[in-house]
Symmetry: C2
Subunit: 381 residues, 2 copies
């Protein structure tokens, strides 16, 4: 044996956090997989080489529940010492998915984190109540649209934002693909759109927010956020899967910025689309977004152009709302195929504590964008 | 119509880049999917709403090749105006995968980027030749191991590093799960391990590199990299999928740091494991790592504890080596199940221009770690 024998590990509190998995296979395969995961995601050495003592007793995960779900699937809970997740989000993510991401039949469903671990996370700064207070809209779901397509000038995008705000839309965001582009710079767009929405607000007396997409080189994102705030943007959009959860966390934690954060799902399909691999909607679009500071998490609603199950979108909703110690909730934002006729069904799923993101549907109803917004607003009210 | 008619888009150069896809389905389905992708990944509005003129003529992708691969799969090439990818890696990633990530049967295989787009990317600072010059080892594959498991003290990890360096190992890296932990701080570990490897180098006359894992909160990573450099670390390890490609790019571009960068595959399984979704090994572990500045890209070798096809690992190898204008190659680093008996087979696949990452195998051969390293070295030489 070339490894130290029975090394002692200082500072283990005894507090542990739980990770819930859905494992695929026969019972024997799932039990073996659980045994692999608890080692793979922590010490990551062959099981027979794990040193006895503290490392084996505390740092390696412990299987605490194993129940059948259906033919070929098992619900497994493994708990881990909070110390293996350190005090930083990237390390926690690593424990959740790490090199185990290369295992088949392995899906991470959710987490239970004790306050002794959650204390390292600020979470959403605003949450649902914060959105309500900023917008002064309390009794209905909130409405959001994206200004697009890429290729329009700052003036044209601003005009679109103005017309939507005039109709009473709550939140108007840049499209996720509109960042800093040669044919429309970040600065010009953000200034024009902020001004346009402010002008509409003066006319309506409402509090519509323009949301600036600050996604870009990670060393430019804080400056973009500060520029957007200065220009009058009311919230920020981040393509979280592109720049990483911890980049969103950084912007959310920055007291100089202090604007609501909307997390966009672009680049994230592979995190949630495989029933036997990666993350559940609940964890990915709910719990993890909140840990990383999202005040609202956009996800793909079922029934639109993408194949998504209703239970998945309900999972995203629940992950945005489930109690997580002192961490605020996030507003679930359902996007993709949100059309006027679907409003009653959406109200049933999300109740009023959600944001409906409508895209193409808003342009189709009639030739008058402002009137289309008003019609949509009547339907949700 | 509520959108501007025939808007003009200034500054379109006419230069385009190609993206190669593998689409699943019948021919009709794959053709329809290609048509969806070229719109979804750019303007992202319903096809019937795309404005005529410059947006339709230039910004939407153009299908330029469509060939059958096998029953149910088609090789499709779509080209895009370089301007839609802007000048930043996150935007390029967004065009490659974006909201299309929620489509089924959609895998991105590779890219051809013209110099007019590549000029925004520095790529690897060192590349294979840089590794050779630093290590002064020219005639054989390079050997790397990881010090672990988590839970060992800085002193114990440093002792392990010392023994490996004494045996002549080229590169000794922190395990991907060893970051800044309550029971072993980043600073203490990096100082101890740097000193241990320097001591061994003085004894051997060799140039073994200690590689510090600087993964953590993104706003701490530059400081960690500078600390590691100051302490004597010879290279940096980054869990790229956890912190995002552009965070690696930031560290690679920083002239104050100027150390070789090794990209670790933890958290990346879902990027490459689905044959009909997300990315190929070639693109993910090759081309994209190079665009983001990795001097070496670790990937899972076939035949180990993870189910990986030989052709996938060959893809990673080729993606590290394929010409990409002025962008340097990356050293492919094959890990996972690298054992002494497999050396001849690995030599055949990778030739000498690769790094072999050996973990458990190095501890099993005998009770003398230094002697095990020497034996491994004899086998590859």
């Amino acid at each position: 044996m070339t490894l130290p024998t029975r090394p002692s590990v200082p500072g283990i509190s005894g507090d542990r956090f739980r990770v819930h998995y859905r494992l695929a296979g026969t019972e024997a395969e799932a039990r073996e997989l659980a045994d692999v995961i608890r080692v793979e995601q922590t010490v990551e050495i062959p099981a027979d080489l794990v040193p006895d003592g503290d490392i084996s007793d505390y740092l390696v995960g412990k299987v605490e529940a194993f129940e059948p779900i259906d033919e070929g699937h098992y619900a497994v809970t493994i708990n881990y010492a909070i110390e293996v997740a350190g005090t930083e989000l990237p390390q926690l993510l690593n424990i959740l998915w790490g090199t185990g991401s290369f295992l088949n039949g392995f899906k991470v469903e959710g987490v239970d984190l004790p306050d002794s671990l959650l204390k390292y996370y600020r979470g959403p700064r605003f949450g649902p109540q914060g959105w309500r207070e900023i917008l002064k809209v309390y009794d209905r779901p909130l409405l959001c649209t994206a200004i697009k397509p890429m290729g329009l000038s700052a003036e044209q995008l601003a005009d679109m934002a103005y017309k939507c705000a005039l109709g009473g839309l709550d939140i108007i965001k840049d499209d996720h693909g509109i960042t800093d582009l040669p044919f429309c710079s970040f600065e010009e767009r953000v200034e024009s759109c902020s001004e346009a929405v402010a002008k509409a607000n003066r006319e309506t007396g409402l509090n519509c927010l323009y949301v600036a997409n600050v996604t870009g080189k990670v060393d430019r994102m804080v400056d973009r956020a500060l520029f957007a705030k200065q220009a009058g943007a009311g919230a920020l959009l981040i393509n979280t899967a592109v720049v990483g959860f911890d980049m969103m966390r950084l912007l959310a934690d920055d007291d100089r910025i202090a604007l609501p954060i909307i997390s966009h799902p672009a680049f994230a399909g592979h995190y949630v689309m495989n029933p036997d691999h990666a993350f559940s909607y609940y964890l990915y679009f709910g719990q993890l977004q909140r840990l990383a500071g999202a005040d609202s998490s956009i996800f793909i609603n079922y029934g639109g152009r993408f194949k998504v199950a209703r239970e998945d979108t309900e999972g995203a909703r629940d992950g945005c709302r489930v109690p997580m110690g002192p961490i605020k909730q996030a507003m679930p934002m359902a996007g993709g195929g949100i059309t006027f006729p679907r409003i009653p069904e959406l109200r049933e799923i999300y109740d009023k504590e959600a944001i409906f993101l409508v895209g193409g549907g808003l342009h189709r109803h009639s030739d008058d964008l402002t009137e289309n917004v008003r019609e949509f607003l009547r339907l949700v009210s």
